[in-house]
């Protein structure tokens, strides 16, 4: 963590909360949660949009949305978010399927709608200036509703923000076991602190 104040908390309440959660969960509170507790007046809208995109009403399951987040993390080379959100996705689908989709979604055994959506999100993430109506039309033609495509784009937009500050701030990488335990917390608590 490149800003120590985020690591230790910026108020007595935050410091106590970080200490308490770390003690109860018997692991270091992941940096994503520390950021969510930091400078809350400023950063709360990021958490609110992320919560709506990841846990709000949508045609996509929570696991499908977590898988989209993990892929944005892969495309943006963010090991923290790839590990964290792959672990949450694996709470609702086979870990082997999560790994297969992350390795190559084009050949993975997933629906054509999800495949077409991931293709849209990949262009959106890596080459946004090239994103066209034809790309969106290909997703709609695969049976995805406009609302569902917009929901998926919101997942990608929020994780194009989160992966960038995770990398820039130098989030500490948890172990596989810590990712798994943090995934249970993320499923239960969500993203808005």
């Amino acid at each position: 963590m490149r800003l120590p104040e985020i690591d230790r908390g910026d108020s007595l309440f935050s410091r106590l909360l970080i200490g308490f959660i770390s003690f109860v969960s018997r692991m270091r509170l992941p940096d994503a949660a520390r950021v969510a507790f930091y400078h809350k007046d400023f950063s709360a809208p990021i958490g609110r949009w992320t919560q709506a995109a990841m846990r709000g009403p949508s045609a996509w399951s929570v696991s499908e949305r977590e898988l989209m987040a993990a892929l944005v993390a892969k495309w943006n080379s963010c090991p923290f978010c790839l590990g964290a959100h792959g672990a949450v996705a694996a709470k609702g689908m086979e870990r082997s399927l999560v790994d297969t989709v992350i390795a190559d979604y084009r050949t993975a055994p997933i629906s054509e709608g999800l495949k077409a959506t991931l293709q849209f999100l990949e262009i959106m993430t890596l080459r946004p200036a090239e994103l066209t109506a034809e790309n969106a039309r290909a997703v709609l033609d695969a049976g995805v509703s406009p609302e569902a495509l917009q929901d998926a784009a919101a997942v990608a937009a929020t994780f194009n923000i989160i992966t960038r500050y995770a990398n820039a701030l130098g989030f500490v990488l948890p172990t596989a076991d810590e990712f798994d335990r943090a995934a249970t917390m993320l499923l239960k608590r969500g993203y808005a602190s």
């Binding site: 990021i46 949009w49 045609a59 080379s77 994103l131 790309n135 049976g143 917009q150 960038r164 701030l169």
Partner: protein, 114 residues
């Protein structure tokens, strides 16, 4: 998949932009706005901000301790440095959101098969 009510993402994106880029903070508002534009391929900023903010937009995994330390020193506090880093990330994310919404709206407006 079934069609369901879904979140008002445009309103949530606008609230995010308003807070991070348009309201007072620990850092200068104009600096945050410049960072958001720069990370979305906008005009260069003064150093030491430009190298960090451009990196956040293009390849955030390449950000270094030294780049963040230089911005921390120039910004004057950790909260101000955090705001500039967040603004750069938000600029890159909102650019992608706008591109996606534009592509989707154009696809909805055009008859299927065109």
């Amino acid at each position: 998949m079934t069609t369901q009510t879904h979140a008002d993402h445009d309103a949530l994106a606008k609230a995010l932009r308003d807070r991070v880029l348009d309201r007072p903070g620990e850092s200068d508002r104009a600096l945050r706005q410049a960072a958001a534009q720069r990370s979305a391929s906008g005009p260069a900023m003064a150093e030491p901000y430009d190298v960090l903010v451009r990196e956040i937009g293009e390849a955030s995994y390449r950000v270094t301790d030294a780049q963040v330390a230089s911005v921390l020193q120039a910004a004057g506090s950790e909260k101000a440095a955090f705001e500039i880093i967040a603004a750069a990330a938000v600029g890159a994310g909102l650019l992608r959101w706008q591109q996606a919404v534009k592509a989707l709206n154009e696809a909805k407006d055009a008859p299927a098969g065109n």
